[in-house]
Symmetry: C2
Subunit: 351 residues, 2 copies
DNA sequence: GTGAGTCATTGAAACGTGTCAAGTACCGGG
DNA sequence: CCCGGTACTTGACACGTTTCAATGACTCAC
């Protein structure tokens, strides 16, 4: 095929779209650009007949307003950046939906980035979003510290932390009380008569794991006042199904034999359930199991999994509300919105 | 509190960020704006010493390039719009990740919108993305027809359809061969000795359901040449767990008793599994079950669910590749990239 | 007939950036 | 001393939009 064009362009190319500007619309309608702009932005101040004429011209030309020019002139970008650790994790997509439900009705479009916990990717996203002049950022920080967000802070980009408490008065944040969640899970088993429990936890370097452990211990302390209860803690390397399955033998080796298991996460719980099934241990008769996160599939298992639900959707929408306040309210003060987790009791713990 | 400000602004307000432009950088570095722009875009043509000086100024001022102005001047927006039916569906988030993995390395940022199948929301998203002058759109159309995308077509916005074949030469598209998938599922059961099957299908108004049914029938025809096999079709109102569970009694009432079930979707299959469990029917000994979609949790069940896997991640990245080609290659021709589904055999069908 | 007051429209300036023709400074050769 | 060439740098313009002071066309009351 020739690289140089010899013949006339094909039909498709003749009809190729050329960008239509407000000026083209003005020409077609026989008015000035100022009037077109007025029709688009303050229709009330322009005469009925001209308005009709201009609208007809907009229609016939297929004009679509160029947001960049609008924004350059001083308009808002109607854009919010969302940065999460992992889009394929239902917890984060639910949060995204919550944020979207709130922001979409306000005319915002969301830019989404998934960092997989890599600070380098996080930095790229934040940079790109700043270049795009997003009006705000919702972010689950990848790093333990928040130095990656210093730029957002100094440049005054409204930022809300997701599932991460902000130190001092740096940022707004939405969080879930993981201590309370751990407490709920353990107390539920104590209250249904169990006295010997196992707590299968993930790495305590993870803030969520530390907090949930603290909650479990709290439940032990408060229950111990009335009667004797005990919890054995087992920490595994990661919050996965495999790690849960592998820990089952250690659970069954404990003496006296525990009657309940609290897992730091639904995936661990699922692994435990599978491991118990292959060894013929009945749930909940021989061993009650409680998870954490309330992933959708937990309710579909048999036995359905008791779990601690985190209001991910509400987390997202609350974060969006905080952001909107920071964007619009000059008297805005940073604050933390803390959600209560909720225990969802199902068959795996109610024999 | 007074609405009128009386005292001096607080410290925070004094230090409030004022936008830094290329002009400010130029002033600090003692050069013209043209030189700053050159340092940023064609560093090679500017003298070493000045370049250092300008870079230092960029650093000290915290300058961040304004994409709107860049784009207005004729630059590309480095933005791609993604519109899916439902962000909380793992299939779509996997596709998103596939697209992201390909586009992020090319410097693009993704705008994401979730329509929930509502054409009105789809129209809003597409409109907003056109206003933002995205360089391209990846979309799973909400409506059966494609009239909602006519604007994208006429305005020449590169667009790739996700999991939906484009009629004629309208758009590029990525699809999965659902006929083949249905065939794989049914043939697998025939080949492992089953002769009496049930096909639990969703509403045949959905393209995917129609195609999968066609595949099942194809498997019946080809197998019938060698030996007698039969499939009973049951169509339910929606592809949900509940509908799957409710259909179990009808399955068990069929005579002669079928030995295998093909479901149009993993959720249906999950419902069927639950229904069978509560009725004491053993899987796969009494009844083999095959699903479709290979959702993650399918592998975590016991018995683990045999299912037809759709390469969602690859779908997304292929769509991104097609988009990039359309954006960059002037000789681009629209085409369909069709993926083959893959049968993943697990315990639920291999007794 | 004149002045004041309304109402609708105009046209130019400005937003922040990239480009490019034009300009400056310097150097070496004649 | 001049000429041509090289190596950088400059500064004005253009992109598409909104805003706003200025203009024009009417009307009404005196």
């Amino acid at each position: 095929m020739n690289s140089k064009r010899t013949g006339p362009p094909s039909t498709a190319e003749i009809e190729e779209w050329v960008p239509v500007t407000i000026r083209d619309v003005a020409k077609v309608a026989g008015v000035s650009t100022g009037t077109v702009s007025n029709v688009l932005n303050r229709p009330a101040i322009v005469a009925e007949t001209t308005r009709q004429r201009v609208l007809a011209a907009v229609e016939s030309t297929g004009f679509i307003r160029n947001t960049q020019a609008y924004q350059l002139r001083g308009g808002r970008s109607h854009t919010v950046g969302v940065v999460v650790l992992d889009v394929s994790n239902p917890f984060f997509t639910e949060m995204f939906r919550g944020a979207e439900s709130c922001l979409q009705s306000e005319g915002y479009v969301l830019m989404l980035g998934s960092t997989d916990g890599l600070t380098e990717r996080e930095a790229n996203f934040v940079r790109a979003m700043e270049e795009h002049r997003v009006e705000g950022v919702l972010i689950t920080p990848a790093a333990a510290d928040l130095v990656g967000l210093a730029g957002l802070k100094t440049r005054g980009v409204p930022t809300v932390l997701l599932d991460r408490k902000a130190p001092a008065d740096e940022f707004c944040s939405v969080t879930v009380d993981d201590v309370r969640g751990g407490e709920l899970a353990a107390r539920h088993l104590f209250e249904t008569g169990h006295t010997e429990l196992v707590f299968v936890n993930g790495p305590t370097t993870v803030r969520q794991c530390r907090d949930r452990r603290q909650g479990v211990r709290k439940a032990v302390r408060s229950t111990s006042k009335a009667r004797k209860v005990e919890v054995t803690e087992i920490s595994v390397g990661a919050l996965t199904v495999r790690h849960g399955e592998e820990v089952v033998d250690r659970i069954l080796a404990i003496s006296p034999r525990p009657t309940g298991v609290v897992c730091a996460n639904d995936l661990l719980a699922l692994g435990v359930l599978r491991g118990l099934a292959t060894r013929g241990v009945k749930v909940p008769e021989d061993l009650a199991v409680v998870g954490y996160d309330d992933l959708i599939f937990g309710s579909m298992l048999s036995p359905a999994l008791t779990s601690v639900r985190q209001p991910a959707f509400e987390l997202g929408s609350a974060a969006a509300e905080l952001l909107l306040d920071e964007v619009r309210n000059p008297d805005h003060r940073h604050r933390e919105v803390r959600f209560e987790p909720e225990l969802v009791v199902r068959a795996s713990s109610s024999g």
